[in-house]
């Protein structure tokens, strides 16, 4: 019984194994049949270096170029609306056949399209007379009438000798303050101030560079305070202080010697001594004669203005007169 059982089992096992073997063989043979079919179509290439597949360039789709705006502009359009503020040149916005730039001889200058030369130069297309007129009209409502009696410059200069200059800045920044906006410049003519000889000399020494010798204009520029108002007050303070200080005579000012004098003064010089010594030659003490003022001015003129034929002739005339030499 037991032997039968084992025989049966073995048989079963044998049969089962035979089946699997059979199956395996069949499987293998079917695989072989399939690969044979592939080889017929393409032989695979062993790809050791992986070459990147080139990405296919994507076609950029451009919009169709619009015709320039100028072609659609009406003849009677409002130009100030087209070109409202300063900007660099744009060919499609300007309906003018402009040309600019260098070419070989004989050729026409490059046209306005893609022309860097036209873009480089500043233009005043925003400042056409109608634009200015329009802006003037717009701000007219803020203006007051011009005061009577100040029609000419000479008139207003007489009433308002001081000129105050400051600058406002418009810009797009988070802050509305501009560092330059606090700067205040006041100018006035020196002739508008009243001085005596000493005060004038001292004043000019005090103001120094702020006085222009050629134009006679005095200029104070202040920017040391944070606001414009303060700077304006400071400039006026400077002017006032210098003016009043110039009338003060300090004790040390008397020690000014001849070498420190900025101008030749007849009274202080050898010329006066010589002239009076000659005039009072052999005369008594009480009959002293002083040199004539015209001689004094001629000497001063000769030294201060420098020598020229006119000044020298004047000097000669005065000397002859003084020495009583008859011609």
């Amino acid at each position: 019984m037991a032997a039968n059982l084992t025989r049966l089992l073995e048989h079963k096992l044998q049969t089962s194994s035979a089946v699997t073997a059979q199956r395996c063989v069949r499987l293998f043979s079917t695989q072989q049949q399939q690969s044979e079919v592939n080889d017929d179509e393409e032989f695979r290439v062993l790809n050791l270096r992986t070459v990147k597949q080139q990405a296919r360039r994507r076609e950029i789709k451009k919009d169709a170029v619009q015709p320039p705006r100028t072609s659609r502009m009406a003849v009677d359009q409002d130009w100030t609306a087209v070109w409202s503020g300063p900007r660099s040149f744009h060919p499609a916005s300007v309906p003018l056949p402009l040309r600019q730039g260098y070419t070989e001889r004989g050729a026409a200058a490059p046209s306005k399209y893609a022309n860097a030369e036209l873009m480089k130069i500043p233009n005043f297309l925003h400042l056409t007379p109608p634009a200015i007129r329009q802006q003037c009209e717009a701000i007219k409502k803020f203006c007051t009438p011009w005061p009577k009696g100040l029609e000419t410059e000479a008139k207003w200069k007489r009433h308002f000798p001081i000129e105050v200059l400051s600058t406002d800045y418009c810009h797009s920044l988070p802050t509305i303050r501009h560092p330059e906006a606090r700067r205040v410049t006041i100018t006035l003519k020196l002739s508008d101030l009243q001085f005596d000889a000493h005060a004038k000399d001292k004043f000019l020494r005090l103001v120094g560079e702020r006085y222009n010798q050629e134009t006679g204009v005095l200029t104070f520029v202040t920017d040391r305070c944070p606001t414009r108002k303060q700077n304006y007050d400071y400039a006026l303070y400077l002017l006032t202080a210098c003016y009043h200080e110039s009338f003060v005579t300090e004790p040390w000012e008397d020690t000014k010697s001849e070498a420190d004098m900025e101008e030749y003064h007849f009274e202080r010089n050898q010329a006066k001594k010589s002239a009076e010594a000659i005039l009072n030659w052999n005369s008594k003490a009480e009959q002293k004669v002083a040199a004539s003022p015209s001689y004094a001015t001629s000497v001063e003129q000769l030294i201060n203005e420098g020598e020229n034929e006119y000044n020298l002739a004047k000097y000669k005339e005065e000397v002859l007169k003084m020495l009583k030499i008859t011609v």
């Binding site: 010594a277 000659i278 030659w281 000497v299 020598e307 034929e309 020298l312 000669k316 009583k324 030499i325």
Partner: protein
């Protein structure tokens, strides 16, 4: 045709010249006739229209302006032996065998001033100024001639910058510490002074006022004549500078005491106020003119503190050195110090020739056969090239 017209033109020119000559010779003969009783010694040929027979500068007036007068040989010898005429003019004089000076307006003006001057007043300083070569020295020569004829004692320095620029010898002054003596130049000046004034000094009998002690053994006593003083200076060259100082001080005093009148003429006066000289001191530094012993006496005599005198000074660009020659104006050339020293002075501008003077000079040169080639328009060419400057004209027409 053109040639014919040209010839015709030259013919007519010749004819006009002929006419002019006739007129001129007629005028000359007339003047000769008129002046025969004035100066019978002069022959008619000497009286061309560009010459004047008036040889005394005192009588010159605008009538004689732009005309030549002749300085007699002995007077020329007396006044100008030691200098006073420019070297090239001297050569010209030698060539032309006569000393002719043109009467020009600055000299006339100056003579007028001197004649009208009140000599009891302090000495007036006249300063001649002008561009190079306009005749400052010759104007001075003209006035010197006047001075010599009118009993002025001449104190004449022919060219002051010579002392500062090229002295014969420089030595330390014995009397004054830190000063420089120019013994040879001082002696030469004394000789010049003696030449000019010997006769006059003889006549005036001027005496020294005090005793001058030169050394232990040498001295000039008070009351000695000025001639003795001068001769001592010439003989003892070592003391020439001091003698010059003494002489000038004496002269100043004598003039103030009304014993004589003095004409001071210094050419190139601004050299006394030049910042430096070419003389080196012991420590190899250039000395300034005020450290030269000769400077002080001449500055003293050009001061205003004396009477009976006139000072004729000329300021000249050439008297200065490079860097100080920008202008010919007196204030510039004298500087501050010099101006203060001279002020008040009478500036006299010597200018280039006027048209009349130029033509007169050309006729003088033609008369002397100095200009031999006279193509038409040569005067115009000379005028253009010389700009009517006397020196340039002389250079243009000079011999090779």
């Amino acid at each position: 045709m053109k040639m014919f017209r040209k010839q015709l033109g030259s013919l007519s020119r010749i004819s006009t010249q002929l006419q002019r000559n006739v007129i001129a010779s007629g005028a000359a003969s007339r003047t000769a006739e008129m002046s025969t009783n004035v100066a019978p010694a002069l022959d008619a040929a000497a009286l061309d229209e560009f010459r004047t027979a008036v040889a005394n500068p005192g009588e010159h007036s605008t009538l004689q302006s732009a005309k030549f007068y002749t300085i007699p040989v002995e007077q020329k010898k007396q006044i100008f032996t030691g200098g006073g005429l420019p070297k090239q003019y001297e050569q010209q004089i030698k060539t032309f065998t006569e000393t002719c000076l043109m009467v020009r307006s600055p000299a006339l003006e100056l003579l007028q001033y001197i004649k009208n001057a009140d000599l009891s007043k302090p000495a007036v300083r006249y300063v001649l100024y002008g561009e190079n070569g306009v005749g400052k020295t010759l104007t001075m020569a003209h006035v010197l001639h006047y001075g010599a004829l009118n009993d002025f004692v001449l104190v004449h320095v022919p060219w002051a910058p010579n002392w500062m620029k090229r002295p014969k010898e420089a030595s330390n002054a014995s009397g004054q510490e830190g000063f420089i003596d120019l013994p040879f130049d001082a002696a030469a000046w004394l000789v010049h002074f003696k030449n000019q004034n010997a006769q006059l000094l003889q006549k005036l009998q001027l005496k020294t006022s005090k005793e001058y002690v030169w050394s232990k053994r040498e001295s000039t006593p008070a009351g000695a004549s000025l001639i003795e003083l001068v001769e001592h200076g010439i003989a003892r060259i070592k003391y020439a500078s001091e003698t010059t100082a003494a002489l000038i001080a004496e002269l100043k005093q004598l003039a103030t005491n009304n014993q004589c009148k003095i004409m001071v003429a210094i050419d190139g006066f601004n050299a006394f106020f030049h910042p430096i000289t070419r003389i080196f001191s012991d420590n190899k530094q250039r000395v300034s003119p005020d450290r030269i012993t000769l400077t002080q006496p001449f500055l003293d005599i050009t001061n205003y503190d004396w009477t009976n005198g006139v000072c004729i000074l000329s300021v000249d660009k050439i008297a200065m050195t490079e860097g100080y020659m920008d202008s010919y104006m007196p204030r510039y050339l004298l500087g501050k110090e010099g101006f203060e020293h001279l002020d008040p002075f009478v500036p006299i501008h010597v200018k280039n020739y006027t048209e009349k003077e130029f033509m007169s000079y050309i006729s003088y040169y033609l008369d002397r056969h100095w200009i031999s080639k006279t193509p038409p328009g040569f005067e115009k060419q000379l005028k253009f090239m010389s700009n009517m400057n006397p020196y340039t004209l002389m250079q243009l027409v000079r011999g090779l």
